[in-house]
């Protein structure tokens, strides 16, 4: 073996050790979550800590599905994540089409107003948003979240960028064939923007699935709770039943993990353009 080869083996080894170690630090909490969820309530408080449960049990999972509202919360989370994503993408791509492909008076000025609203963080306006929603009787309704997604300046901005890059000759050809704006939008522009749409869609799904502040403010009816909300309320109610809380947390992570596995590419580009809700 040459010296260069040995060096290469050593640096590969260091890479696996360092990478594995940091990954382990990141994963220990998850390991702890899974282990805890498989313990009985009594085993939670054993000293020394049981790294592997002596009597693994699915009792926590049985109990959590029997709790009122938990299965409903899973359904609500799916419903919310899917519907808000559809509305957001639809509304944003329509606006982006108008801003990028239709010439009208005030186009640029209106777009600048859209962008300016991005300066105000959501954390600053959630109180008036609640006030207005409750005056319009939109609180405690999952469908009200759809209305809130009508305006998403970030998605509009990203889609407009994409659509600006689509050559107008496609559109001119469609017009010659007798197409109107609706046809051009659905048949030409949307298919050509599908990459950005997928990225924004994945980000929106994850944002809605994991969102906490907005549902916390808008929803007080237990029947309308999403997974983060029900976990939050279990934290208050069953604050010491960590097997239950960890089982619930794990259940809330699995769907988003599955989506990630199938759409890694879009997740990565989405995170890189900064479309993630902090």
């Amino acid at each position: 073996m040459t010296r260069k080869n040995i060096n290469k083996y050593i640096s590969t080894l260091i890479f696996y050790v360092v990478g594995g170690l940091t990954a382990a630090i990141l994963l220990i909490p998850f390991f702890w979550m899974i282990v805890t969820s498989l313990k009985t309530k009594g085993a939670l408080l054993s000293i020394p800590v049981e790294w592997i449960p002596k009597n693994p049990s699915l009792a926590a999972y049985e109990k959590i599905f029997k709790l009122e509202g938990f299965s409903k919360a899973i359904f609500n989370s799916f419903y919310l994540a899917i519907t808000t994503t559809i509305v957001q993408i639809l509304s944003a791509s329509m606006a982006a089409y108008a801003f990028s492909k239709i010439r009208f008076k005030g186009n640029e000025a209106l777009f600048r107003v859209y962008l300016a609203t991005m300066m105000i963080p959501f954390q600053v306006v959630f109180i008036p948003l609640f006030i207005i929603s409750s005056s319009l009787r939109l609180t405690n309704s999952l469908n009200a979240f759809l209305l809130l997604q009508l305006f998403n300046p970030f998605a509009i901005f990203m889609l407009r960028q994409k659509m600006m890059g689509i050559n107008d000759s496609f559109i001119e050809a469609a017009i010659i064939d007798g197409a109107n704006h609706f046809h051009i939008f659905t048949k030409v522009i949307l298919p050509l923007s599908s990459g950005v749409i997928a990225t924004l869609g994945i980000m929106s799904f994850m944002g809605s699935w994991n969102d906490y502040l907005l549902p916390l403010v808008m929803i007080s009816d237990k029947k309308k709770f999403t997974l983060p909300l029900i976990l939050n309320s279990l934290n208050g109610q069953y604050g010491s039943d960590y097997n239950l809380l960890m089982a619930g947390s794990l259940i809330s992570i699995i769907p988003i993990l599955i989506v990630f596995m199938f759409a890694q590419k879009y997740f990565r580009s989405g995170l890189q353009v900064g479309g993630v809700k902090a």
């Binding site: 890479f15 940091t22 990954a23 990141l26 994963l27 220990i28 909490p29 390991f31 702890w32 979550m33 800590v49 639809l90 509304s91 329509m94 606006a95 089409y97 990028s100 492909k101 239709i102 010439r103 009208f104 107003v113 859209y114 300066m119 105000i120 963080p121 954390q123 600053v124 306006v125 109180i127 008036p128 609640f130 006030i131 005056s135 209305l147 809130l148 009508l150 305006f151 998403n152 600006m164 704006h181 939008f185 994850m206 969102d211 906490y212 983060p228 976990l231 939050n232 934290n235 960590y242 809380l245 960890m246 947390s249 992570i253 988003i256 993990l257 990630f260 890694q264 995170l271 900064g274």
Partner: protein, 307 residues
Amino acid sequence: MQKIARHNSFSKALPFILPSLAGLIVFSLLPIITSLIISTSSWDGLTKLTLFTDAKSFFNNFYIGLKNFRDILKGDEFWKVLKNTLYFIVLYLPLILISSIAVANILNKKYRGIGFFRVLYYVPVLTSWVAGALIWKWALSPEYGIINEILDLIGIEGPKWLQSETWAMPSIVLASIWKDVGYFGLIFLGGLQSIDPTYYEAAEIDGATGWRKVWYITLPMLSPVTFFVIVISIINSFQLFPQVMVMTKDAGPNGATQVFVERIYKYAFKYHKMGYAAAYSWILFVIIFIFTTLQLKLQKRWVHYDT
């Protein structure tokens, strides 16, 4: 960019713009105006709001001018909240920069199995803050948690973490690093991959070694990304919320983890001082605005743009 000249009227654009325009007016502009008005009132959030139906009676009953703003800035609590937030930033910012640059370097290597590592780093990013905070709250349990158990194995007696005034905020920082490092690592990875390899080749010809290459090429070339990460991290730090709410329900021992959004939420929905909460949120906006503008000004001194 040329637009289609034959279809050039607002009436053609309106159907496409209408949904987002309605959303903009009702759920963005209206809340901003409402918030400004409410912030000058003593409205409690429980009395029926007559602002939209009978503004005159609303003003007669609740208008108090800038009293909320004065009260907030004069009180001790605001300064404690600001101090807590700055303490979070001082701990969080250097740690997240170092750890995410390290993660980016690991992810940048082309070894077998790197895809697996990438997925591992993203898992905390995908996890909701509520679940992540619950996991950490339990992992940091002084007697029964895994963190103190591990510290015990290497002979360190762990602190009481969230139950200790000293350690409550560092605990929040720890959980936040865990949650964010994969995200910022990915951002830095993008930065690393965009550095032109010829710089390194040229430096090697000149005899530059490992650390000098890092210091004179990698860090300056990464500075625009570093700048972005710092700006985003600081904005996010001022908006800390779920981790504080879930991990320390009553904002820690002696208010050690009181932060802005947590205060705003509690004033609005627990203490029923809507006007006060609205004023608080505008002060938060001004602080974020000042910090961000300041950084944009200072960036000229240290951010290196290649083109």
